[in-house]
């Protein structure tokens, strides 16, 4: 069995390691199995080679309500190519056995329910995954899932948004493991030209509540090295880039070999902005 237990607390160690080097974390996202399993594996490998500190993989769902058009389209491509949660996790197992970076998955709750909570968490763990993000599972409903994740040593990464009220934000900070996923704007995922005005404001508000116990990574709309740099300067511990990378995959559907090359360069640029 690859990585038995070695994925536990891997995210925590990664942030510690980066802190010692005075760097922020670059979390790079791709949708699992997009556009096909083989291209996906070489693209995800390119993220690691480009210097991604954490790789986040989406398990595609038919109705991704937190996602904008870019990730919606990638989910559809992947589903059309025959992706299931099981075979995306198999691909992650292949990746995680070859690369020593933490892998995080993002998926919607119905897929977890359909597989069965415990089976999902244990299969995920066996695939070498370190953390799980479930954008449509609010903290009020996640006790059972959260406890299973704890039991299996997987970080249940929670999200907070600009309009999350203070009392709820405190609960989320207390419960989130690995890092806090800060939604940096009002809206869904998607590449943006500029950093949203709420991003820094919310970051500041969250920072004032955290006593550096849990790292904060900001996502949604983070597209350019400039955005990453600004976030780091304002105290974020990590930046999550998704749609801007998935867009590269979409632009190279006819030349999948070039996608990996382009992704590696993009990630390297983004990563250098965290230093």
């Amino acid at each position: 069995m690859p990585n038995a237990c070695s994925n536990e607390h891997q995210i925590h160690s990664k942030f510690e390691e980066l802190k010692a080097r005075r760097e922020g974390a670059l979390v790079a996202y791709l949708t699992g199995g997009d556009p096909d399993p083989k291209t996906f594996v070489s693209n995800a490998t390119a993220l690691v080679e480009g210097g991604a500190d954490i790789v986040e993989i989406g398990i595609p769902f038919s109705d991704p309500i937190a996602d904008g058009p870019v990730i919606q389209a990638s989910s559809q491509r992947s589903l059309k190519a025959g992706s299931t949660p099981k075979n995306v996790l198999d691909l992650i197992r292949e990746l995680s056995s070859q690369h020593n970076v933490p892998f995080v998955i993002l998926t919607y709750y119905n897929l977890i329910l359909a597989m069965g909570l415990e089976k999902f968490v244990s299969t995920t763990k066996d695939s070498g995954v370190s953390g799980i993000v479930v954008p449509d599972l609010p903290i009020e409903e996640n006790d059972q899932f959260h406890n299973l994740a704890l039991k299996h040593g997987i970080d249940n990464i929670l999200l907070a948004a600009p309009n999350t009220v203070q009392s709820r934000l405190r609960q989320i900070l207390a419960k989130s493991r690995g890092f806090l996923y800060l939604v940096s704007l009002y809206g869904v995922t998607g590449p943006r030209e500029t950093l949203s005005p709420q991003a820094l404001e919310t970051l500041k508000r969250v920072k004032s509540l955290v006593n550096s116990r849990i790292p904060i990574s900001a996502g949604f709309g983070i597209s350019h090295p400039d955005h990453v740099r600004t976030l780091m300067k304002s105290g974020a511990d990590g930046a999550i880039v998704g749609s801007a990378l998935v867009k590269v995959v979409a632009e190279h559907l006819d030349s999948p070999g070039e996608a990996a090359h382009e992704l590696k360069n993009r990630v390297a640029e983004l990563k250098s902005a965290t230093r």
Partner: protein, 369 residues
């Protein structure tokens, strides 16, 4: 969600809000609606008396206005001027456009492109009423996808925008709030049947897509245990996955649009596409309260096929001179079967939730085939 829940509980309890809504429902929407004893239809079915709760006579042609006036007034009190909504058959979109025009609010409606094609008339109506219609081209291009898009808009513009959901679906407090606004149907029907028959009906029958007209008429009868409640889903063309929209009859427990309910899905949890001749029932999930009523056995659920619904449409049109929408035609079809099994002293109420004008084109096409 918390802001909305707080505002709903605060304002909906205020006597001034209740008075204001009552006035709008009476003077603008046309409440109360009649409870009509359909004698010709009763003779045709042969059995229990069939009563029709005439929501089709409301302004806009469907029960949807009960909810859009309620939520429109709420949005106004919350200080939100931009209203977004989703629509399947277009009835909720039209009712939203009407309420917004009357209340001085700005309406934008998300609608699947497949639905825009088959319910063209309602697209024109919404536009003429001053609403902006956003075509939704993702997924199955129907109601489910319109809800996805409206939710995405809402999280983007939550500060100044009110999401006026049209059915008893979605995250709390929508299922509760929409039920409360639609319960006026059942409250009236219960009083009317007691007045006309001197006793409660044997059964109440309504169609179920998301489930707002059915919950609206069921709710005031929930504690009358002798009254049987039947929800009728869209059986589409066949029982094969993808060819119907019967979430309660054929779905599995799942989470969609922020609710735990029955969802039509494959073994991996991917939501399946649905099919029904009636755009208003074409939805792969159902309001969570219906899931509860089915699990406790208080209400029973069945499916009626496209062809059966069309037959019921023709029967009601020819026997009573009332053209029902295709959605309640499903309920009518089932009610005629039920009535046959009961005696002539029993009565059955069907919620005639909307009128058929919007469906004339579809039905004419099918009749010529």
């Amino acid at each position: 969600m918390r802001e909305l829940e707080g505002a709903y509980y605060k304002f909906s309890r205020e006597p001034s809000f209740k008075r204001q809504l009552k006035k709008w429902l009476e003077n603008y929407a046309g409440r109360p609606t009649p409870l009509y004893l359909a004698e010709n239809l009763t003779r045709r079915a042969g059995g229990a008396k069939i009563y029709l709760k005439r929501e089709d006579l409301l302004h806009g042609g469907a029960h949807k206005i009960n909810n859009t006036l309620g939520q429109g007034l709420l949005a106004k009190r919350m200080g939100k001027r931009r209203i977004i909504a989703e629509t399947g058959a277009g009835q909720h979109g039209v009712a939203t456009a009407m309420a917004c025009a009357a209340l001085g609010l700005k309406a934008e409606v998300y609608m699947g492109t497949a639905d825009m094609e088959r319910q063209r008339l309602n697209v024109y109506r919404m536009k003429m009423l001053g609403a902006k219609v956003h075509p939704v081209d993702s997924g199955s291009k129907t109601l489910k996808d319109a809800i996805n898009e409206a939710l995405r808009d809402w999280v983007t513009n939550v500060e100044d925008t009110y999401y006026l959901l049209g059915s008893v679906v979605g995250p709390h407090p929508y299922p509760t709030m929409v039920r409360d606004f639609q319960s006026v149907i059942g409250k009236e029907a219960r009083q009317q049947i007691l007045k006309q028959e001197g006793r409660l009906p044997r059964a109440v029958v309504a169609c179920v897509g998301g489930g707002s007209n059915s919950i609206g008429i069921f709710h005031p009868f929930l504690h009358d245990l002798e009254v049987e409640l039947y929800g009728v889903e869209a059986g589409g063309q066949s029982q094969q996955p993808g060819q119907h929209a019967a979430s309660l009859v054929a779905g599995k427990e799942g989470v969609l649009h922020g609710m735990l309910t029955y969802v039509l899905q494959d073994d991996n949890g991917q939501v399946q596409t649905t099919q029904s001749i009636s755009a208003g029932l074409d939805y792969p999930a159902v309001g969570p309260e219906h899931a509860h009523l089915m699990n406790t056995g208080r209400a029973k659920y069945a499916a009626i096929s496209d062809d059966e619904a069309l037959d019921a449409f023709k029967t009601l049109s020819e026997t009573e001179g009332i053209m029902p929408a295709l959605e309640p035609s499903h309920a009518l079809s089932y009610a005629m079967k039920l009535a046959k099994m009961y005696g002539g002293s029993d009565s059955v109420i069907v919620n005639l939730s909307g009128r058929g004008d919007k469906d004339v084109e579809i039905i004419a096409k099918r009749m010529l085939e």
